[in-house]
C-alpha cells in the first residue's frame, strides 16, 4: 500500500459558501429563539423548547464561524 495523501474532510472550495449558509441558518434560528422568548409569557414557556432552539442555533453558529475562519485563511 502506497502512502495516501491526506486532504481536508470538506473540500476547501466549499468553505465560503458553507460559512454563509450555516451562519444565516444559525442567525435565523437565533432570531426565532429571541422571538419566542419575547412573545411567550414566563408561565407558558417550555424550557426544553428553549434549550433545543438554543442548541440548534449554537451548532449552526459554531460551525459557521469555523468555516468563516477557514475561508478567510485562519486555519485552526
Amino acid at each position: 500500500m502506497a502512502p495516501k495523501p491526506i486532504s481536508s474532510p470538506v473540500p476547501v472550495a466549499w468553505y465560503p459558501s458553507l460559512a454563509v449558509l450555516m451562519l444565516s441558518i444559525g442567525l435565523l434560528v437565533t432570531a426565532s429563539f429571541f422571538i419566542y422568548e419575547a412573545t411567550s409569557s414566563r408561565r407558558n414557556r417550555s424550557l426544553s423548547k428553549e434549550i433545543v432552539t438554543g442548541a440548534m442555533a449554537s451548532i449552526f453558529l459554531g460551525f459557521g464561524s469555523l468555516f468563516l475562519l477557514l475561508a478567510t485563511g485562519v486555519y485552526v
Binding site: M1, A2, P3, K4, P5, I6, S7, S8, P9, V10, V12, F33, F34, E37, R42, R45, L47, E50, I51, G54, A55, A57, S58, I59, L61, G62, F63, S65, L66, L69, L70, G73, V74, Y75, V76
Partner: protein, 465 residues
C-alpha cells in the same frame, strides 16, 4: 652487553611493527586524482575523481580524505559516490562518509573516511567521485570597495590534493567566473586559458604534500548570505499548510565604502554597484497561494510571483539594493494545499514530506531553524532527515488552542542549495481531534444561549407580580 643490544633490537622491532600497524595509510595509493574547483559563484564546489589502488596485503574497506582545518570548518556538504555498471547502465551509488581521527595527521588536518561497498582486495582499483562544497572561503580583497569598483576575491587552496596517501598523478582545474584574474600562484606546471586555471600534472607526491596557492580574481556574483533563517511550517488538517520564513539577509562580499548614490546606481547599472544585488529569486512549490512578502514596516510591494505546474517562482526585491556588509530583514509567507505534502503511511502514521533548506537560489544559510508545528492532539513525533541535525520539541500556541501544538524544531548550520532535499516528520493523529475547535465555538455560543435562558427565568423584580 649482549643483553642490552638484544633489548635494544627487540624495542626497535616492536616500535617498527607498531608504527606500520598503526598507520593504515600506506596500504592504499591514489593512482590518479582529478580536481575541478568551481569558483563561479559565492559557493565553492569541488568535484574530485579519485582512482585508488590497494597495494597492501590486507583488504581495504575505507578510503580517507583529508581537509585542511580551515576548509573542514566551512565544509557544508561532502558526498561520495562510485559508478557501478558499464557504459549506458552506469549508475552512481552513494557511499557513506564519516569523520575520523588518526593519531599522526600533520597540522590538524581533518580526516573523513569513505566506506566502500565492496572491500578492495590487494591489487584492485576503484574510482570514487567526491563532491564537496565549501562556504565563506572566498575572501574579498580589497576588503572595502566603493560603489563604482568591482569585487575581487582571494581563493586559498593547495596546488596538490591533500591526501593521506601516496598520489601518483594529480591535476587540478580551477574555473573562475570571468577571465579577469589578477594574479595566481605558479607551481609549475601551471597553465591558464580563458576562465580555466590548470595546476599539474604532478607526479609521485608523498602523503600530506601541500603547496599553498592563492588565486585573486574578479567575482561579482551576489554574495547573498542568510545569517539566520527560521522556517515555520504549520499543519492544519482542515486542508492547509502555512509556511512563514523569517530572513536575516546579508551581503557578505567586500564591504561598501564611501557614499551611495542612487542616481548613479540607477543611470549606469553596468558600472555602478556591479557586486551589489537588488533582487533574489525564491523557488516555491507549485500551487502556492496567499503569498506575502513584508517586513517590520509593512508590505513590500516589489515582488513578482509566477505560478507554474512544476514550480512557482517568487522574485523579491528588498527595499534597497544590497551592497557589501548591508543587511535586510523580511518575512515571506505562503499557503500550500495539504494533499501535496501530508501523507498517511501504510502503518497508520501521518507524515509531512517537505523540503529542507532555503528556497532562495544560490544562497548560503548560516543558521537554519525549521519548526514543524503539528496539529493539536498529535503524538509521538519523530523526524527523518538525510543528514545530521539538532532536534528538540517545544509547544506553540495558535488560534483556538488549549493544550498547545507539539512542535518539532530542527536546527542545522551552514546550509547550501544542495541541502534542498525532502525530509519527513512522522506523528500519530486521531482525526477526531479536528472536531475540538468547532466544538469549542459551539459550546461558547451555547453558553451565551444558556445565559439568556437563565436571565429570562430569574425573577429579578422586588415587588411580587
Amino acid at each position: 652487553m649482549d643483553r642490552r643490544t638484544l633489548v635494544l633490537l627487540f624495542l626497535l622491532l616492536v616500535s617498527s611493527s607498531l608504527g606500520s600497524s598503526s598507520s593504515s595509510s600506506p596500504d592504499i595509493r591514489v593512482l590518479s586524482a582529478e580536481r575541478r574547483i568551481d569558483l563561479t559563484s559565492s559557493i565553492v564546489r569541488v568535484f574530485l575523481t579519485l582512482k585508488v589502488e590497494n597495494v597492501g596485503a590486507s583488504q581495504a574497506s575505507d578510503v580517507l580524505l583529508a581537509f585542511p582545518p580551515t576548509d573542514a570548518e566551512h565544509l557544508a556538504i561532502l558526498k561520495a559516490s562510485t559508478a557501478e555498471g558499464k557504459r549506458k547502465k552506469k549508475i552512481y551509488v552513494p557511499l557513506s562518509v564519516n569523520p575520523t581521527e588518526l593519531p599522526d595527521t600533520p597540522n590538524g588536518a581533518h580526516l573523513f573516511s569513505i566506506s566502500l561497498r565492496n572491500p578492495l582486495k590487494t591489487g584492485e582499483a576503484a574510482v570514487l567521485e567526491v563532491l564537496y562544497i565549501i562556504t565563506h572561503c572566498l575572501e574579498p580583497f580589497p576588503a572595502e570597495i566603493s560603489q563604482s569598483e568591482t569585487q575581487f576575491v582571494y581563493y586559498h587552496d593547495s596546488a596538490m590534493l591533500l591526501s593521506p596517501y601516496h598520489v601518483m598523478e594529480q591535476i587540478t582545474y580551477i574555473k573562475t567566473p570571468s577571465n579577469k584574474v589578477e594574479s595566481y600562484t605558479r607551481v609549475d606546471p601551471t597553465n591558464r586559458a580563458g576562465t580555466e586555471l590548470r595546476y599539474g600534472l604532478y607526479h609521485d607526491l608523498p602523503p600530506f604534500s601541500y603547496s599553498p596557492i592563492i588565486v585573486h580574481f574578479e567575482n561579482n556574483n551576489p554574495f547573498a548570505v542568510v545569517e539566520e533563517l527560521v522556517r515555520e511550517v504549520e499543519i492544519s488538517h482542515w486542508g492547509n499548510l502555512q509556511v512563514r520564513e523569517y530572513y536575516k539577509l546579508k551581503h557578505a562580499g567586500a564591504r561598501h565604502k564611501g557614499v551611495f548614490s542612487r542616481v548613479e546606481y540607477q543611470s549606469r547599472p553596468s558600472i555602478s554597484g556591479v557586486s551589489s544585488f537588488k533582487h533574489l529569486l525564491a523557488r516555491l512549490p507549485p500551487r502556492v497561494h496567499s503569498v506575502y512578502y513584508r517586513d517590520e514596516i509593512g508590505n513590500i510591494s516589489s515582488s513578482h510571483l509566477r505560478i507554474g505546474s512544476q514550480k512557482s517562482e517568487l522574485e523579491i526585491e528588498p527595499r534597497y539594493p544590497l551592497f557589501g556588509g548591508w543587511k535586510a530583514t523580511f518575512v515571506i509567507g505562503y499557503g500550500l494545499p495539504l494533499q501535496d505534502f501530508l501523507f498517511k503511511s501504510p502503518d497508520g502514521k501521518h507524515y509531512l514530506n517537505f523540503s529542507f533548506g532555503c528556497p532562495l537560489l544560490e544562497t548560503v544559510v548560516d543558521e537554519l531553524t525549521i519548526k514543524v508545528v503539528l496539529p493539536e492532539g498529535s503524538k509521538n513525533p519523530s523526524s527523518a532527515v538525510p543528514f545530521p541535525v539538532n532536534q528538540q520539541l517545544e509547544t506553540t500556541y495558535a488560534y483556538l488552542d488549549v493544550v498547545g501544538r507539539t512542535t518539532m524544531v530542527l536546527k542545522k548550520r551552514n546550509i547550501v542549495p544542495e541541502h534542498n532535499i525532502p525530509f519527513q516528520v512522522y506523528y500519530d493523529f486521531n482525526p477526531i481531534f479536528m472536531l475540538a475547535e468547532p466544538l469549542m465555538l459551539v459550546s461558547a455560543v451555547f453558553l451565551f444561549f444558556v445565559a439568556c435562558i437563565a436571565y429570562l427565568h430569574i425573577d429579578l423584580s422586588i415587588r411580587k407580580s
